[in-house]
Structure formats: structure tokens, C-alpha cells
């Protein structure tokens, strides 16, 4: 399993800790401690990765979006008046950029297909790794992966973000604002059924 080597790993059991760690890092950076920025990047980059990858961007395009997001933070630091909001500011900025890039099509961001680049990648991931995972892990993954695209994206974003902006999500998913909450409920119900059918959990 490839895990990030630097910084604290994302804690699935206590996702709320991420946001307070982000705020703490931001506060120390603003106070003049460069290590605060390092910590902020370390704790939030994994969250940004999962949010951005929900938009079906290639790995390279996702990395570019995340880099753009961090540059935006450094340049527009003054825009973040409330340090508690830094995590949400980052995920919102990253989602807007990911949405913009994915809407613009692949011509600019990724002129080369992932398939063509795959042989050059230094690491083998995803499908190959899941084969090695225990059977239960495979079945749970199949349940999540088998959800309709809209549910896959919505649940991935909701799972990693603190409080996503429903208005923007609705635009991106082509849905009325008021239907995001009910749709999330239906997607969770679909997942619950899929997990039961898979005999997992």
C-alpha cells in the first residue's frame, strides 16, 4: 500500500482533527513560522487529492490543480480573515479549479492519455494493488466503485470535506441546490445496500 511518507496521515476515525491541524498550521505560518506552512500543506494535501480526484482528472492534472491551489493560498493569504476557514477555503478553491479544468476538457491539461503514460509511471497502483488486498477489502471497494458516477463523486467529496458548499456542488453535478441533501441520502442508502449484498462489513 502506497502511503504518504511525510506528515501525519489522514485519520479516518477522526476527520475533524484535520481541520483544527490546518488552522493551527496557518496560524503559526501567519505568525512568522515557516514550519506552520509545511504542516498546513502536509495535513491538507491528502484531502485536496481525494477531493480533486473525484473529478476524474488524471494524476498529473490533479497535481497541477493542487499546486495551483497552494500558490493561490500563498498569494492570497490576506483573503483568509478567519483562520478556522482555511481548510474550507483550500477545498473550495481546489474544487473550483478541478471543475474548471475538467469542464475545459482534456485537451489542455492532459494532452497525453493516461494509458500512454502508464508504462512510464514509477509505481503501480489501484487495480494491481487491490488484487493483493484481502477479499473483504475487495468486496467493499467493489461496492463503492460500483455506485453510479454521481454518487461516487458526491460521496467522495462529502467524505473528505468538512462542509462542502452545496450551492457549488449542485452546479457541478447539474442538480437543483435543494436536492443535494436528499441525493446524498439516496447515495448512502445505495451504498448501504451494496455493502449488504457484498456481504462486507
Amino acid at each position: 500500500m502506497t502511503r504518504i511518507g511525510a506528515g501525519p496521515p489522514y485519520d479516518s476515525a477522526r476527520p475533524g482533527a484535520v481541520w483544527s491541524q490546518a488552522t493551527d498550521g496557518f496560524n503559526r505560518w501567519v505568525a512568522g513560522d515557516p514550519a506552520g506552512l509545511d504542516d498546513l500543506v502536509s495535513v491538507m494535501t491528502p484531502v485536496l487529492w481525494h477531493v480533486v480526484r473525484a473529478y476524474r482528472l488524471s494524476e498529473q492534472a490533479a497535481e497541477d490543480v493542487i499546486q495551483t491551489t497552494w500558490l493561490a493560498l500563498v498569494r492570497r493569504r490576506a483573503a483568509i480573515v478567519d483562520p478556522v476557514a482555511v481548510g474550507g477555503w483550500l477545498t473550495t478553491t481546489a474544487r473550483r479549479e478541478a471543475w474548471r479544468v475538467s469542464s475545459a476538457g482534456s485537451s489542455r491539461a492532459t494532452p497525453v492519455d493516461d494509458e500512454d503514460l502508464a508504462p512510464m509511471l514509477p509505481r503501480q497502483r489501484s487495480a494491481e494493488e487491490s488484487v493483493l488486498q484481502e477479499d473483504e477489502g475487495n468486496r467493499i471497494w467493489a461496492a463503492v466503485d460500483g455506485l453510479p458516477e454521481r454518487c461516487r463523486r458526491l460521496l467522495r467529496i462529502v467524505a473528505f470535506e468538512n462542509r462542502p458548499d452545496y450551492r457549488e456542488l449542485a452546479t457541478e453535478l447539474g442538480m437543483p441546490v435543494g436536492s443535494i441533501g436528499p441525493t446524498r441520502g439516496r447515495c448512502l442508502a445505495k451504498l448501504r445496500v451494496a455493502l449488504m449484498q457484498a456481504g462486507g462489513v
Partner: protein
């Protein structure tokens, strides 16, 4: 299992994505370098990456790609090529004007410099592999320096 709470289901979703689409190993370090370098010289104006392409040059397993940055009216086109353990950057600035271009590598303290020719061309050779950024200093000192975001060779 049918009574899995919303929080438990979302924890499952987080867990499977972390396992099946993990964060690339280099990403946190690369983003720390990007953010730190951008923060360290806020007085230098940053260029914006507007285009990136990858070309797969088959010979000797070397790789090359092109990057295009803009800042105001200045356009910067780079061809970045890996050759063995070193790399080189061939650049073109439009419109051409007298400038010094410096490559700042994350792995080596020494910077590599070149002056832009009358036609706007420059080349930087024998660069290390890894994280790199270019800093462009107009000879007209009334103009601010500008720099590219960090990119990787």
C-alpha cells in the same frame, strides 16, 4: 450492518479511496517545496502556468515536455528534457528583451544562469534532476523580477 450510520458509511468511503487511489508519495514534499518557495519571495511576481504537454521521446529512455507560462505581456515557453542523470531547459521569451534567467534547484545551492538572446532564446544545461523553478530578471531594473512556479524534471 443495515444500521450503519452516516458517519460509519462515510468512514468506509474515506478508507477505500485512501487504499485504492492513494496520495502519490512525492506529492506532499513537492507541494511543501512549492508553497515554501512561493512564500519565501513574495516580492517576486509569479508567472502563471497556462499550458503543459508531454512528449515521449523514445531515444535512450529520455523524456521531454513543454511548459508555457505567462505574466502580463510576457510569454515564456520552456522545453524541459531529461538526459541521463542531468537535464536541460531550452527557453523562448516573447517579446524578447534583455533578461537574465536563473534556474533555482531544490537539490543544489548553486544557481544556473543564462542571458536571453536578441531573439528571446536561452538555454540552461547540466541542471540537476528534481524540483526546479526559473527566476527571470529584466535588465531594466524598473521592472520587477518574476518567477515560474516550481516544476519537476
Amino acid at each position: 450492518m443495515s444500521d450503519l450510520s452516516r458517519e460509519a458509511l462515510l468512514a468506509i468511503v474515506r478508507d477505500v479511496w485512501e487504499k485504492n487511489d492513494p496520495v502519490p508519495e512525492h506529492l506532499v514534499t513537492a507541494m511543501q517545496a512549492t508553497a515554501a518557495m512561493a512564500a519565501s519571495d513574495l516580492d517576486v511576481e509569479l508567472m502563471e502556468l497556462v499550458e503543459r504537454s508531454t512528449e515521449l521521446a523514445g531515444v535512450r529512455g529520455s523524456t521531454a515536455y513543454t511548459l508555457r507560462f505567462v505574466h502580463g505581456d510576457t510569454d515564456l515557453l520552456l522545453r524541459v528534457a531529461v538526459d541521463g542523470a542531468r537535464s536541460r531547459v531550452d527557453g523562448w521569451i516573447v517579446p524578447p528583451e534583455p533578461m537574465t534567467v536563473r534556474a533555482i534547484a531544490g537539490s543544489e545551492p548553486a544557481s544556473h544562469g543564462a542571458v536571453v538572446s536578441d531573439s528571446g532564446r536561452f538555454e540552461l544545461t547540466d541542471l540537476p534532476l528534481g524540483m526546479l523553478r526559473l527566476r527571470i530578471e529584466p535588465h531594466d531594473t524598473s521592472r520587477p523580477a518574476f518567477a515560474t512556479p516550481t516544476f519537476e524534471i
